[in-house]
Each structure stands twice: as C-alpha cells, then as structure tokens.
C-alpha cells in the first residue's frame, strides 16, 4: 500500500506542482493517476521513489516512510517503468533485465535465470535475450522495460506513461498484457497516464488530477463514469462516458433470440416460415457462422436462399461474444449493422442468437441502476476484433518488427 499524506510539491519560484494531497494506492491493485499536463501526476509518482522530493507531507509504503532508506536502496525495491523504456542501449536485452538483481548482489547465474524467466512472462521469446534494444520494436522494448522493472520481484511498480509512445494497436496489446500479468502477480501498481480511456481500462481506482496538482476525484472507474463529482471530471471523461461505462457490464443479460437465424441451405419451408415472422433474417453458413442479413422482402419467393449471393447480404458489422464481451460491445454490434441488430456468438464463433437495439435496452437499464458492476473491469474488446474476442495473452505478437525478427 502506498499512502500519500498531505503530500505537496512547491518549486522555489512558487509554482505549485502538487497541492497537499491525500491518496492511498491499495496493495495488489492498479491505481491510475490521470490528468492533463501540469496536473502533477508524474510528480506524484516520482516522489514515491524519490526521483523528486516533496516539499510537504510524507509518503509511506506499507507504513514505512520512503525517506527511511537511502534513495538508491529504496529504488532497488521499487519497479520503475518509463515512457520509452529507457533501456541501456549498449547492453543486451538479457543484461538489461539483469540490472537490478545484479545491483542487489545476486549471482550472475541466478540473475540470468530470473531474467530469462521474465522475458517469457512478458511475452518475449528466448531469442530476444541476446539482442540489443535497437533491434526491437517500440512495443518489444517496453516489454523489456516491464521485465526489467519486475526482475527483483518488487512489491511496488511505478509506471510513468509506459505505453504513450507506441502505436494504438501495440498499446492495446500491452494494456491487455499488463492486466494479465497483474492477475498473476498482484503488484501494487501506480500508473500515470494522460489518456482517460487507458485509466478506465487499467485502473482498479482512478485519481483524476487537475492543473496545479489538485485531486478532483478518486474512485473506481464505474463510479467515476456514473457520478463525476464536478464539471472538470465530467468534461475530462468526455461525452461518451455513459456508453463507456457499459464496458464494465457483462452482456450475459442480453436476450438472444435464435428465431431470426437461418442456415443458407435450410429447407425452403423453414425459410418461408421464418420470413413471415421476422423483418430481418440472419443467414449463417454450414458451420453456423454469420454471413449477413437479409430483409424479408429479399427472401426469394421459393425460399431457396442459395439463390442469393453472399455479396448481396447486408453486413452484420461485427459480432460480440455472448459469454465474454461487455454490454458496450453488444450495443456497438447492434448500432453498427443496418439491421440494428447485434449478433451474439459463442466462443467457437457459432451464432447463439440476435438482439435488436430495443431488446438491449432492459439490460442497459439494469446496468444504469447497478452501482457495482458484475465484471471486475472494462474489457478491452469493445471496439476490437469481433471474430476473436480478447482472450488475455492471446493477442499474438502484433508488435513484432518484421525487419528485425
């Protein structure tokens, strides 16, 4: 647990970077500091490992004042990850990860063994160990940065905008990866970002800071989205906070109706029977995977769907995982398709059923009144790959640099 007690930082010229702040980052949780530039979020973080000394108050890690040890000693017990990783360019990936264990006096063999193990943990291959940082992509470098911070197994991890410098696809991978790691390691993580989306996705709790280092609100993401305390927090959250909050609620409550789903090679009688009752039919292939929508009028009079070319079917946009994805993903799926209907699929991609926007409303209402979400945090697949719902760690190496691999 990291406790900030009336911690402030005023520079000699009178500039207030951080106003007297009380904040507690719970053990084993991710606490995100988010705010615009000049909000003192990085200053707060850097005061924990004494890269910056506060001018007032005290910081305690598990009840112990950070000033009770020398700064270098303190820092060896705290993982530190920064924006561009800051890897030693002249050292191999392996040597980089071995840095802190070696500083702590581990034997070379033990440090190496630990480093190799960590490279796998952060999703790198053994072949990366002998490479130099310049031979890695930005995303890979950041993974090494995380491995290096974890090397001596510190209970506390400070992450200062670690994913800001990589492209959005890689960033998403790294975020997913961090959540997976955290579910295994349960570190006390203090995470700084200027990106509210990132804050909401990663944080167990989020501290919204305003210019001049003023803490405006400190809450769980869903509470923040539901009840922003003031205008600043509200505007910082953006206009889609309602929709965004839905990502914290599971789509399992959505009624999925199988009736409008019809196989392309279904008997004519069945097709014609279904046409009568539904304005839209979802045509699926032999494997029960979705092909596209068909209006009742488009259905051939003889009920033979094979006469309709797949290209003529109306796009279904994307599907959502009926068991795995959030309400937000379901809503997005419905809004995206001209049929205004969401297609729910099982893990193997087979269509479970469909739901119209109207049929989603009761589930959304339920979410509105629920203060505690039934999922731990927002999933990352909201706008993501619909065919492959996010399975933690299963993102593949999208940030692999083909030139250097």
């Amino acid at each position: 647990m990291i406790s900030f007690v009336q911690v402030g930082k005023t520079y000699p010229d009178g500039t207030v970077a951080v106003a007297a702040t009380d904040l507690t980052a719970d053990s084993g949780r991710i606490t995100v500091l988010v705010g615009p530039s000049g909000s003192g979020k990085t200053t707060l973080l850097r005061m924990v490992n004494r890269m910056i000394e506060p001018t007032g108050g005290e910081i305690l890690i598990d009840g112990v004042d950070v000033r009770s040890k020398s700064a270098p000693e303190l820092r060896r017990g705290i993982g530190y990850v920064i924006q561009n990783a800051g890897l030693f360019p002249h050292r191999t990936v392996l040597a980089n990860v071995m840095t802190v264990p070696r500083l702590l006096g581990w034997s070379r063999d033990k440090a190496r063994e630990r480093a190799m193990e960590l490279l796998t943990t952060v999703g790198l291959e053994e072949s990366h160990a002998k490479r130099y940082p310049f031979q890695l992509s930005g995303g890979q470098q950041q993974r090494v940065g995380v491995a290096r911070a974890l090397a001596a197994d510190p209970p506390v991890l400070l992450m200062d905008e670690p994913f800001s410098a990589v492209d959005p696809v890689v960033r998403k991978d790294l975020q997913t990866e961090l959540l997976r790691l955290q579910s295994e390691l349960s570190k006390t993580i203090l995470f700084v970002t200027h990106d509210i989306d990132e804050a909401i996705q990663l944080g167990d709790k989020v501290a919204v800071l305003n210019t001049g280092g003023v803490l405006e609100q400190f809450d769980t993401p869903t509470e923040l989205l539901a009840n922003p305390k003031n205008e600043f927090v509200e505007s910082f959250l953006g206009l889609d906070r309602g929709v965004r909050r839905l990502s914290f609620f599971s789509s399992t409550g959505v009624p999925l109706r199988p009736e409008p789903v019809v196989a392309r090679d279904a008997p004519a009688a069945e097709v014609l029977a279904r046409r009568g009752a539904q304005p839209w039919l979802l045509v699926v292939d032999g494997g029960h995977k979705p092909l596209g929508w068909l209006t009742a009028e488009q259905v051939p009079a003889d009920g033979d769907l094979t006469k309709v070319a797949v290209g003529e079917l109306v796009s279904y946009g994307h599907t959502f995982g009926a068991e795995t994805d959030s309400l937000r993903a379901a809503l997005d799926s419905a809004i995206l398709s001209p049929s205004s209907r969401a297609v729910g699929v099982a893990e193997d991609g087979r269509v479970v059923g469909v739901a119209s926007v109207e049929e989603l409303v009761p589930a959304i209402r339920a979410a509105q009144s629920a203060s505690v979400p039934d999922t731990g945090r927002g999933d990352l697949s909201d706008a993501g790959d619909p065919v492959n719902p996010v399975t933690p760690g299963g993102q593949g190496d999208r940030d692999d640099n083909p030139e250097t691999v």
Binding site: N49, M51, P72, E73, L74, R75, R76, G77, Y80, I82, Q83, N84, A85, G86, L87, F88, P89, H90, R91, T92, T99, V100, L103, Y132, P133, F134, Q135, L136, S137, G138, Q141, G145, R148, L158, N401, E403, T404
Partner: protein, 225 residues
C-alpha cells in the same frame, strides 16, 4: 634523381636504421611523445568532460577553454617556450597537450551531456548511484563520441610532434627539419613518409579500439517501427 627515389634511397640505407638518430629510435620517440601528450591531455580533459557532462553544467567554460587551447599556434608556442624555458621536455609538451585537451574535453562533455535523458532517468530510478549512472550508463552510451575525441587528440599529437621537432626535439619531425637544413631531400621525404605511416598506424589503432570497446548495441542505429 627525383625526390621519391631519393627518399627510397634514404629509407633503404641501413645506416639510417640504427643509432640514436636512427629511424627506429626516432619512431619510438615520436610514439612516446604523442602518447604522453594524449595521456596528459586526457588526465586533464576527461574528468572535466565527464563532470561537466554529467551535471550538464559548465558548458560555456568547457567550450571557451577548448577554443582558447585550439587557437594557440603550436609552432609559435613551442619556439616561445623553448626560448623561455630552454630545450626541455615541458616546453614541447605544453603546446602538444594544449592540442589534445580540446577534442577530448569537448567530445566527452557533449557525449555525456547528450545521453538520452530517459536512459539516465531509468538508470537512476532503478537504484544506480550517481557514480554508477556515470560509468554504467552515460560513459558506455557516450563512448563512440568519446573515442572520436581521443582519436582527434591522437591525430593532433602525432602531427604536431613532428612540428615540435623544430625546437631541437626528437621524433620523426627531426628528419624533415634536419633534411631541410642540410638540403637532404631524401631525408625530408623519407621522414615525411614515416610521419604518414605513424598517422595511419594511429588510425588503425583506433579502429581496433572501437571494435573492442564499443558495444554492438551502439554501432548501428536502425530505425525502429
């Protein structure tokens, strides 16, 4: 007989390869003076460059000092100091050192100062002490530039040791000066040739040093995507 064949004749005369004023002796003298000039220069300039580069302060002092030293006319200074102090080792070494200090000082300062601040931040944040940050992060990362500074210093030393021979001093410049005095152009050209050899050996030495000391991680910069 043209100068080239005269030089060849001089170089292949066995008498020129022995004795206190023979080619090997002069070559060793030249080597010794150059190395000493670089070492004394490094003793002054390297710590100063490291210090100013590490704290990122004192840039103006460093550059001014380097520029003043660079502006000194070697020959003039040699003659002046010899006149004042007599033909002493110091009289010649001072102008030589004045030429080795600027490149070492400037390159060390610039090299260390311009190390990626993210690198030093990460190094510090991991718990390296200031001294460790300097030796394990800054110096290795700045080494390509630092070595270049040392190479310039060595080039200066080798070239100007030849000039210093003007003041009845040893080294390969002796052949050029004495040859001119006695209109022995074979000796002049042969001496000049030997100075060129010394300069090339110097380059080879630094190429090897680079290979040995600079991490492969710094040798090439490929853009990362």
């Amino acid at each position: 007989m043209n100068v080239l064949s005269q030089a060849w004749g001089w170089l292949t005369t066995s008498a020129n390869w022995s004795g206190t004023d023979g080619i090997p002796t002069r070559f060793l003298q030249h080597f010794e003076y150059s190395v000493e000039a670089v070492l004394i220069g490094a003793l002054i300039a390297f710590p100063l460059g490291l210090l100013t580069g590490h704290v990122k302060r004192g840039g103006l002092v460093v550059t001014s000092l380097a520029n003043v030293a660079r502006a000194l006319p070697t020959l003039g200074l040699v003659v002046l100091l010899v006149v004042v102090m007599g033909v002493k080792f110091r009289a010649v070494m001072i102008p030589l050192v004045a030429l080795t200090v600027p490149p070492i000082l400037l390159n060390t300062y610039e090299g260390v100062r311009n190390v990626d601040p993210q690198l030093t931040d990460a190094a510090k944040g991991m718990g390296l002490r200031p001294w460790q940050v300097l030796w394990r992060a800054e110096v290795p990362a700045a080494l390509p530039l630092i070595l270049t500074g040392f190479q310039f210093a060595a080039v200066n030393a080798v070239a100007n040791t030849a000039i210093a021979a003007y003041s009845s001093f040893g080294g390969l410049g002796r052949f050029v000066i004495d040859g001119l005095a006695t209109t022995d152009y074979g000796m002049v050209a042969g001496g000049a040739f030997l100075i060129v050899i010394a300069a090339i050996l110097n380059l080879v030495f630094f190429a090897v040093l680079r290979k040995l000391l600079i991490s492969p991680g710094l040798r090439q910069k490929k853009p990362t995507t």
